[in-house]
């Protein structure tokens, strides 16, 4: 929490908030609401909301659904469903923010085989990538490729699927 009277959260409390959000995503497949995080973090609900916004300022690759306090995206995972479904131990309950971030989900599940299942945006046929601890284990079809439709700079502000 911030020091009494201070408005800027400490790095430690931002780390705790970030880790709580990510841990909830990993454990449940969905992002938490800031009200759920208030008691675990030992802050008020209002402080938790402010912390959430501060975390997303420090971690701008994630975002809230517009005009809400709902976490839409917290990469590499996503609260809002995408075509990038993630399965671990046969349980498919996560979504990745995008196809690139999907390949980073492996680092959230050490020692586990993480399967990325996605329907191809061209034909709708399945694309499957399996990874374990960062290593590619299976790619189907073997020709699967990544594609960036907008350059990283100009892509800011574009829909995530682009």
């Amino acid at each position: 929490m911030s020091a009494p009277g201070a408005s800027t959260p400490t790095p430690e409390v931002l780390d705790r908030m970030w880790s709580r959000i990510m841990r909830t995503l990993i454990d449940t497949g969905r992002p938490p609401h800031h009200a759920e995080l208030a008691h675990p973090l030992g802050v008020s609900v209002a402080e938790s909301r402010a912390l959430l916004r501060a975390v997303l300022q420090a971690y701008p690759i994630g975002w809230l659904h517009p005009e809400t306090d709902y976490i839409a995206s917290f990469p590499p995972l996503n609260g809002l469903p995408t075509q990038y479904r993630i399965a671990v131990r046969g349980e498919e309950k996560w979504f990745a923010q995008c196809g690139f971030e999907a390949t980073s989900a492996t680092w959230l599940f050490p020692g586990e085989t993480v399967r990325i299942n996605a329907a191809c945006l061209d034909c709708g046929d399945p694309t499957t990538v399996e990874m374990r601890d960062g290593r590619l284990m299976r790619v189907d079809p073997p020709t699967v490729v990544g594609h960036l439709n907008y350059g990283f700079g100009p892509s800011r502000g574009q829909p995530a699927h682009l």
Binding site: A58, G99, P110, V144, F152, L162
Partner: protein, 81 residues
């Protein structure tokens, strides 16, 4: 930032931009790009304060190493911009 079954599938995608021909990345390079050191510390309790701030420089270094040090990939303005 998508995965396609092949480059041909990407080019057939209705929203494919011809300017994005340089936007292809092979899967082994992509997993390296999104598997650099900072990514491997996402479960650390100090990830946000210690590791995330290093990510941008690490990405630039990796993209340079794989020959993608262009404005398109680095997110820097094009020379003509």
């Amino acid at each position: 930032m998508n995965l396609f079954r092949s480059e041909e599938h990407a080019r057939r995608w209705e929203l494919f931009r011809p300017e994005s021909e340089e936007g292809f990345i092979a899967l082994p390079e992509l997993t390296g790009f999104f598997g650099t050191e900072t990514r491997q510390h996402m479960l650390d309790p100090d990830y946000l304060s210690r590791w995330y701030p290093r990510r941008a420089a690490e990405r630039r270094e990796y993209l340079t190493r794989i020959g993608k040090a262009s404005p398109f990939w680095l997110g820097t303005p094009a020379p003509s911009a």
